[in-house]
């Protein structure tokens, strides 16, 4: 029995489903500034939520970023700049290039992405397929991914990192 099957069975219980969602939502809000769209693609986008982008861009940057900052709010980094950086640090850029992300199903907004995934409501590849690379031992891959999530979280709460750019405008 795979994790999918176990979870699918557990989600049949209304109490479990509800409790799971409350924990999932709060955890993802804290870690990723999750918008609870229910169509989660975090495992493809280097654990940076693309729905944080003011234009909800799920397939790539819009072309409105100035020196890596968002044109809608110049005090924030372009979400796709963060995604690009994070996937590069994880060496998982292939997940961005190879996956066409279809438009989100808005009926799933405000529901558990895990439940939607195990019940087959999401079209994008399952998080179990994309979370860790198959050809790398888990003992190395798990700390890498966890480390990246912590690094992203630190970036999220400390605001834009200016170190990477040359000739950037002074704030």
């Amino acid at each position: 029995m795979s994790i999918d099957d176990v979870l699918a069975k557990a989600f049949q219980s209304r109490a479990f489903s509800k409790a799971f969602f409350i924990v999932e939502r709060k955890a993802k809000e804290w870690l990723f500034d999750c918008q609870s769209c229910g169509n989660c693609v975090l495992s493809h986008t280097g654990f940076i939520c693309p729905m944080r982008c003011p234009k909800n861009q799920r397939n790539g940057p819009c072309g409105g970023a100035m020196d890596g900052m968002c044109e809608v709010d110049m005090s924030k980094r372009c979400v796709w700049d963060e995604i690009w950086e994070s996937t590069q640090q994880l060496d998982r850029v292939d997940l961005l290039t190879n996956n066409y992300e279809g438009p989100p199903d808005w009926r799933l907004s405000g529901t558990s992405a895990w439940e939607n995934m195990v019940e087959g409501h999401l079209e994008s590849p399952s998080i179990f397929e994309t979370l860790f690379r198959k050809d790398v031992p888990l003992t190395r891959e798990v700390p890498r991914v966890v480390g990246q999530i912590i690094r992203n979280w630190f970036n999220l709460i400390t605001g834009p990192s200016w170190r990477r750019y040359e000739g950037r405008p002074s704030l």
């Binding site: 861009q57 397939n59 790539g60 072309g63 044109e71 438009p103």
Partner: protein
């Protein structure tokens, strides 16, 4: 006529654009369109440019088509959800509009109704995908259509973006989703554009280099500071600063840029921003 036919014939394609007015007085816009008649292969009609509420792109495309000009219908994801976007694509087809440029669109907060609800239900990639699906006779929900439309689908790319790799990644997704040609953000640095073209050669898709007429040194400095992915080199700014006849220098400059980049790409997209009357002179200076 589809723009694709021009690319396939091997001819260097030229497009320009007109901006619908804020209001219903279309006289001036139609005059501007008349000036470029016969000089360009098609005319882009912007869709609520800069998120400013205006006359619609679809209606203006229809007017141009009636006058015998070839429109390129710009369609953005900012104001319409997937139902409205697909419906407008069907409407465009029955009005005889064959070229569609699919864009994400500027954000609403940068326009004149900053408090409006941004839609962005689809993005430019999924909009291209939707248009391709319609051409296959089904919609995004997989429902069968009664008669399917046919378009030449275009998209945009910013060659001056930093970092450039995610732009190229998205460009590749757009090609896979059905984009048949690209128009670029304004380019003023032929050397950088050549590097960009070398990087996207593998996509094997026609690219039309974007040229915004530099009306003054002040405008160039403003664009450097405020327009994403656009870099005007200092040498061009100095040239405009020192010019005796600003208009003449500007026309000569745009012409020179086109001449320099002509062999790198398959067409040019002019964005005159009010200087429509100078389009013929620029094309002459470019030797087109």
């Amino acid at each position: 006529m589809k723009l694709l036919e021009i690319f396939e014939s091997g001819k260097f394609a030229v497009t320009s654009e007109v901006g619908p007015p804020k209001g219903v007085d279309i006289e001036r816009m139609m005059e501007e369109a008349e000036i470029i008649r016969g000089k360009v292969d098609a005319v882009n009609v912007t869709d609520q440019q800069s998120s400013v509420m205006r006359l619609g792109s679809l209606a203006v495309c229809h007017l141009l088509k009636q006058k015998g000009l070839e429109p390129v219908f710009q369609l953005t994801c900012r104001d319409r959800n997937r139902i409205a976007l697909q419906s407008d694509l069907l409407s465009a087809h029955v009005l005889g509009i064959e070229n569609v440029l699919c864009l994400t669109g500027d954000h609403i907060s940068l326009g004149d109704h900053p408090g409006g609800k941004p839609v962005f239900d689809l993005d430019s990639v999924s909009l291209l995908h939707a248009a391709s699906e319609l051409q296959q006779g089904r919609d995004l929900a997989g429902e069968k259509l009664k008669g399917s439309p046919s378009f030449c689908l275009g998209a945009v790319v910013t060659p001056g973006a930093n970092p450039l790799e995610p732009q190229i990644m998205k460009m590749e997704k757009k090609v896979k989703a059905g984009a048949q040609f690209f128009q670029t953000q304004a380019v003023y640095d032929p050397q950088r554009f050549e590097e960009f073209m070398n990087q996207v050669r593998y996509l094997n898709v026609p690219v039309m280099v974007g040229i915004v007429f530099l009306k003054s040194a002040g405008m160039a400095r403003f664009m450097n500071k405020n327009v994403a992915g656009v870099h005007v080199p200092e040498s061009l700014i100095d040239e405009l600063d020192e010019a005796e006849d600003r208009v003449k220098t500007s026309i000569e400059m745009s012409g020179r840029l086109i001449r320099e980049m002509k062999d790198m790409c398959q067409g040019v997209h002019l964005m005159p921003l009010g200087w429509e009357k100078h389009v013929p002179a620029v094309l002459e200076a470019a030797g087109l």
